[in-house]
Symmetry: C2
């Protein structure tokens, strides 16, 4: 089982926190608003703790559950407090019309977060192609990308503890295309596929 710190107190923090607890992991939450963090910890139960925003997380895996434009600022603000951590970026940096990314260049929030992260930290992209409703109740495929095998292995173990299937797509550069896969997922939702109750995944050959 893993020790998880979640930066953020919103819907995604709540959803991932609940699954993490259910999967037998240790969870702490960190919110800019300490009362919101305390409320979330209480709601999650299972021994969930809180820790002051910006201080060194207890968890080996730090999940940044913020809106996409808050991820790099948070990693920058935490700075050396994230040294040695596995930082998980789950964000979807959609453009205003949801048919492209907010950044024009071929980069990703995950790659930018890696630039902002301290030495010894490692960023892994994960979970962004899974709608929240499925993350809450389902057993979806979870695509991951990252440059460090050990960091990816620890995120894979965490994903398995949630009853989900981790699928490695390659180095952190691939986070750009996973963010693009997030765009595809929303495109499907906007064109008649499901009701935000599906996830991207793979299907093995079936004859």
């Amino acid at each position: 089982m893993s020790s998880i710190s979640i930066i953020g107190t919103g819907n995604m923090a709540r959803t991932i926190g609940a699954r993490a607890i259910a999967g037998g992991n240790t969870v702490e939450v960190m919110g800019r608003d300490e009362s919101k963090a305390a409320d979330l910890a209480k709601a999650l139960g299972g021994g969930t703790t809180t820790r002051e925003w910006g201080t060194a997380p207890a968890g080996d895996i730090v999940i940044v559950a913020l809106l996409h434009d808050g991820v790099v600022p948070a990693v920058t603000q935490y700075g050396d407090a994230l040294a040695g951590k596995v930082i998980v970026d789950i964000s979807n940096p959609f453009n205003p019309t949801f048919d492209g990314l907010a950044h024009g260049e071929e980069t990703s929030v995950a790659q930018e977060a890696a630039k902002a992260a301290p030495a010894g930290a490692s960023v892994v992209k994960a979970f962004n192609t899974v709608f929240r409703q499925v993350l809450e109740k389902g057993r979806p495929d979870v695509f991951i990308a990252g440059d460090h095998a050990q960091a990816k292995a620890s995120v894979e173990a965490f994903i398995k503890s949630l009853g989900m299937r981790p699928l490695d797509v390659g180095g952190l550069k691939m986070a750009h295309w996973l963010e693009g896969a997030g765009v595809v997922t929303v495109g499907l939702a906007n064109h008649g596929v499901g009701n935000l109750d599906f996830a991207l995944g793979i299907t093995e050959l079936r004859a």
Copy 2:
């Protein structure tokens, strides 16, 4: 059932042609090398015909089964012969390291083909996230993108005739992100997922 013209005589032309015949569609093949086209038509059977390269196809749906850098030149060369047709681009314009696209800008082979296509033609992106082995024998999800509802409806009907499930991701602009999803698919294959015997798709919520 649909009337299909396939431009190209390679592996993908053979694979799609065979599935199209098995699905009860009418098929013709068009090759620069007429003897190769004749050989393929014979191999496909089911009344498959050939037609001279560059002349107006008989099919309502024209599948361009060429390497990605051959698609726009072929559409340009055919020119007005494609007027009124639904042109299907199935290509994956990978970069040399297979972790990105050959074109740096946020475009796609499908969008460039649409610029080269004559008035009244409509381009639909489809099939590029399905490995050939699965296209040959499986019943995968097939993502499609295009700007014209009627063209997409005809491609969807064709896909259903193959026993596959069409999933609309939106306008032709989304072809860029479907090409990115092709990059993700290859990334998965290169990192231990399957043996080119899977396809990208969606999974509905399963508790």
